[in-house]
Symmetry: C2
Subunit: 307 residues, 2 copies
């Protein structure tokens, strides 16, 4: 799957992943109205609204980007109905040939971590048959529990040729509270990065490993350092746009071949129509605004690259 | 909810939480046969089997213990059908007056962490109405992302009088890879524990805080030290029984008043009938075996306390 992702990035000339984090406040009124008319102002209605919202955005951007990243929390908040909308979104994106990075940030130990790996990336054994669960292509994983939490994912990734992105240095302001602490002469996030590189050696794709890392766009100097610690690791970069990361900050995350990183934008793309810059599209044409925002992001990254 | 939990522990004289981690291999053949006859060897069939399994165990132990801890990974592995079984289990346990600790180990940032908090502990706003999602009473939370990940939970906990247990020192063999690293003169887990105590001050119950901690039974010396770092923090102790933690190790996790900790057992209780010790019950009477295992655990803890 990492090879397929790299291919997609090359072909579409876009190291961009669209974050499908559909908060209700991003969903245009007309979609909410239709969904609530059918299902009431209920979790089922909300789930229908975010699913229709996602679908139109995916239709509008699927030829421009290689991957999407649904954030499962935004679906889980609506309970079982929301989780169903997550599943529909994943299935729909797969039908469009998009790589699906499940932003699930799971992490547990032993058989429990294996259950997450199986449920999100692999197949569960039931009697004589095996079934895919949510069937994403990649999942984000939290490393706090150490190798016991990560290795069950590696096993499933090897079987299924799928991948993970391990949280190394997250984009939020307080990420330093624990991640930046010095352990001997290096930070905790560097120690995690070294482990990521080591875990990744066990499951290599053609050029990059099945094991990627999450490093926030908001910390470009750290990105540059981490790029060297993990040369064969794809870096998923959140925090571009709404969280403050700029295109000019991003070059540090890439290798000299122009590969090695994929930049996420969520709100900046899916809620583009709410920005003054794209207001001319109006709420009716929100998906076209999202398309325009992807094209602008692509250009921003291209210019950053040329500087 | 922390007050209600402490009350329950006192009244039932059992600082015990039953881990509802229903792997299919724990479910007796007759229950699987019935479920598969109705729904086929499918995720729906598996979900029905684990739900029926849970229900009988809950019926058999609900008067003995104050709380249950469903591990959501064991449900998520069956996709949407599994998540439905999780919801049914939570609802059923609530109807029995049990405290529900959702072992979800979530952790993200800002609005995403808030979405998890709302979906699992709080109420989501849809139009003019508010709806509970999964509606557990407590959730386990991963601290790797720092305060940005935890504070949205605190907000929801304050509103709903619910709580969280933050991972401090987990029970698994590799937990030390990152958690035991020295930062200056203290370990990472001690630093996290200090934060837990600090976060907990904002949301105090009568004697204990809404913010608890997870510390594995497999590390009793660390438990004793952490007990002092977090005097008003309830400690959720996994790793008893199957993972190697013994009753005699547990005293360290409690305060002098006999409170301050609640010990989890999953496999040791729910799959008791598979142990030689409880083999006389047979698979048909698996729930009675679970009841016997709870009574034995209660006695083991009582004896540990008297030594």
């Amino acid at each position: 799957m990492i090879n397929y992702l790299v291919d997609g990035i090359r072909k579409k000339e876009a190291p961009i992943v669209v974050g499908l984090d559909p908060m209700l406040k991003y969903v245009p009124e007309h979609l909410k109205k239709e969904a609530f008319a059918a299902f009431g102002e209920t979790p089922e209605g909300a789930a229908e609204a975010i699913w229709q919202f996602n679908k139109q955005i995916v239709d509008a951007v699927q030829d421009l980007v290689p991957a999407v990243k649904p954030q499962i929390a935004m679906y889980e908040q609506f309970g079982v109905a929301g989780v169903q909308a997550f599943q529909k979104t994943v299935d729909y994106c797969r039908s469009k040939g998009l790589v699906i990075i499940g932003d699930i940030k799971r992490g547990d130990i032993g058989s429990t971590s294996e259950a997450y790996a199986v449920g999100h990336l692999g197949q569960v054994q039931i009697g004589e048959s095996r079934f895919y669960g949510f069937h994403e292509d990649f999942a984000t994983v939290n490393p706090y529990l150490g190798s016991d939490g990560v290795k069950p994912f590696l096993k499933v990734c090897a079987e299924e040729k799928k991948g993970i992105f391990v949280l190394v240095k997250t984009s939020n302001p307080s990420s330093g509270e624990f991640q930046d602490q010095m352990i001997g002469d290096k930070t905790l996030y560097t120690l995690v990065a070294e482990k990521v590189a080591q875990w990744g050696e066990e499951v290599m794709g053609d050029t990059y490993s099945y094991v990627g890392a999450v490093v926030g766009a908001t910390y470009p100097e750290m990105g540059a350092a981490l790029r060297k610690v993990m040369p064969k690791t794809y870096i998923l970069v959140p925090g571009y746009g709404a969280q403050g990361g700029k295109g000019s900050d991003l070059k540090a995350f890439f290798n000299a071949d122009g590969l090695g990183a994929i930049v996420n934008s969520s709100r900046g793309i899916i809620a583009a129509y709410q920005q003054e810059k794209y207001a001319q599209y109006g709420a009716e044409h929100f998906a076209e605004a999202s398309r325009a925002a992807v094209l602008d992001m692509k250009e921003d990254l291209r210019q950053a690259w040329e500087r």
